[in-house]
């Protein structure tokens, strides 16, 4: 083995640069498949909204726009802290890196807590699809069920990605605290950052499609 073999370099690569490029490309490809994964849900959303726009507007009215807005702000803020974490890693600032990672984790957790309260409110109002579903507006009735199915499927899949993200974040925190990441090697932080921004962007699409569409429909019928 050559003597100039850095500890962070895996055996299959020739250089750290090659390793970094590979990891980044791999992450982008992974995100491309994530887009297609959510794409299936967006396709279903498009189809059903086109078929019954009133039911979607009415369903949208039942969502808590305040909590949705707070969550949007939280996620955008967490993207900022994540970007700062990557920046700190690039500058070998271990303490700042740990601080920004923790901040990102706290914001992500706050999002999930708020989401939990939203979900339980839907449960109490009988807006969870299934035999117990009951929509307050009689003229819409069961037609709104599909909207809520998609609401739960889409936000649920998004929340699942948040949970996975928080798990990964916890897993990265240990080497980060040990100072493993520096200007020369910070691949995992950068790739995780890409993932985190992606999950945020999905929410940026979900928020208007689910929470805001009903606003201009108000009183249409």
């Amino acid at each position: 083995m050559s003597t100039a073999h850095p500890a962070a370099l895996a055996h299959q690569f020739e250089s750290l640069e090659q390793q970094k490029e590979s990891a980044t490309l791999g992450m982008w490809l992974f995100l491309a498949q994530e887009i297609l994964f959510f794409g299936g849900l967006f396709m279903a959303y498009l189809l059903y909204r086109w078929r019954d726009p009133q039911a979607f507007a009415a369903g949208s009215h039942e969502l808590d726009i305040t909590l949705g807005l707070i969550n949007t702000v939280i996620l955008i803020a967490s993207s900022l802290t994540m970007a700062l974490a990557v920046h700190s890693a690039q500058l070998s600032r271990t303490k700042a890196l740990v601080r920004w990672l923790v901040a990102t984790g706290v914001l992500g957790t706050a999002f999930l807590v708020i989401k939990y309260f939203e979900y339980s409110a839907k449960w109490e109002h009988h807006l969870v699809p299934g035999p117990g579903f009951h929509f307050p507006e009689a003229a819409i009735g069961g037609r709104a069920e599909i909207f809520f199915s998609l609401y739960f499927a889409m936000t649920g899949m998004h929340a699942l990605h948040m949970v996975v993200g928080l798990g990964l974040l916890g897993w990265l925190l240990v080497p980060a605290m040990k100072g493993k990441f520096n200007a020369e090697y910070h691949n995992p932080i950068e790739c995780f950052g890409l993932y985190w921004h992606f999950v945020d962007i999905v929410w940026i699409f979900l928020f208007p499609l689910l929470y805001l569409i009903g606003r201009h429909y108000h009183g249409a019928t």
Partner: protein, 323 residues
């Protein structure tokens, strides 16, 4: 062309011959290319077989002329095929205006059919020779598919919507009917027969089958039973739109859209009345989902159609329906 071509099912509808001609073209075209490539491969493999262990091939490994040839020629052929196929397809799925409508309901695992005159059959359908015949089909449970090989036509039969096929029989006799969309345990027993009869024989057959009511009269009875007429009546104070002359017309909806009042629209308006509310009316109609079967819905639609067919006929039907 009366001799029997092997492996080609009987041609018993006006469309069968058209489809078979397309088939013969496809078979001839692909036989030509398969033989061409096979001959090329065999001749080259023999002519240029390796004669010594260290022999290698030539450096002749590209030719723009050849590449263009075997890109453009197949392209022209498949485009020609596409156009031919699309023409046949449009004829297969566009029933003539004078087609007589029959009803088909699929359920695990039987076909229920009904004649416009009310006769019902199970796993069988009698039709007269030479009559353009249209089937309006729906399913009570899973997806089925209605396939008559001798007529070269089929369409999936779906729960929650209507599909149609049509044919004009050109031969009397008994023809296979198959379900071709996998539908569960007894899928391969969901089969039956289409009987094509001479027109006068068909009339005799119709007369021999006891019939309680025609679908339109049954629909009129349901209309009264379900008290539809308390809202859907003429007069400016009616809470629901009047149904005379509705079928086939464009309807202006409350949310600004316009839809054609076809079978699917009428069905949706019975089962999900709030989805497409007519302009000028309130969404007050309750859903009849679960209260009426698919066959009931078909009867109601047939009644509404009869209201469009002519005021006098409708009046007659309504009188006949009165208890």
């Amino acid at each position: 062309m009366n001799f029997k071509i092997p492996f080609v099912p009987e041609q018993a509808s006006t469309m069968a011959r058209d489809v078979d001609h397309l088939t013969f073209f496809l078979v001839a075209m692909s036989t030509f290319f398969t033989v061409l490539v096979a001959v090329m491969v065999v001749v080259f493999a023999l002519r240029y077989r390796r004669r010594s262990a260290d022999q290698v091939g030539s450096s002749f490994d590209n030719s723009s002329l050849l590449e263009i040839t075997w890109t453009v020629i197949p392209l022209l052929i498949v485009l020609f095929t596409f156009v031919w196929g699309a023409k046949v397809f449009f004829r297969l799925y566009r029933p003539p205006a004078d087609a007589v409508q029959y009803y088909v309901t699929g359920k695990q695992w039987m076909w229920k059919t009904q004649h416009p005159t009310g006769q019902r059959e199970i796993n069988e359908l009698h039709v007269p020779l030479g009559q353009p015949t249209k089937l309006l089909m729906t399913s009570e449970d899973v997806i089925h598919s209605f396939f008559i090989p001798a007529f070269r036509t089929k369409a999936d039969v779906l729960p929650g919507r209507y599909t149609t096929i049509w044919f004009t029989p050109t031969k009397t006799g008994r023809f296979h009917l198959f379900c071709t969309e996998y539908c569960g345990a007894e899928h391969s027993r969901m089969i039956g027969w289409i009987h094509v009869l001479e027109p006068d024989e068909y009339q005799r057959w119709l007369a021999s089958v006891p019939v309680q009511t025609s679908p339109a009269i049954e629909g009129a009875q349901l209309f009264a039973q379900l008290a539809c007429d308390s809202c859907h009546r003429d007069g400016s104070d009616a809470r629901g739109p009047a149904l005379h002359g509705l079928f086939g017309r464009e309807v202006q909806l409350a949310d600004g859209r316009r839809v054609r009042a076809d079978e699917s629209y009428l069905r949706e308006s019975i089962l999900s009345p709030g989805a497409k509310v007519v302009a000028g009316y309130q969404p007050v109609m309750p859903s009849f989902r679960g209260q009426v079967s698919e066959e009931n819905v078909l009867a109601l639609i047939d009644y509404m159609k009869s209201l469009t067919a002519g005021e006098s006929a409708a009046a007659g039907l309504a009188e006949g329906a009165a208890p």
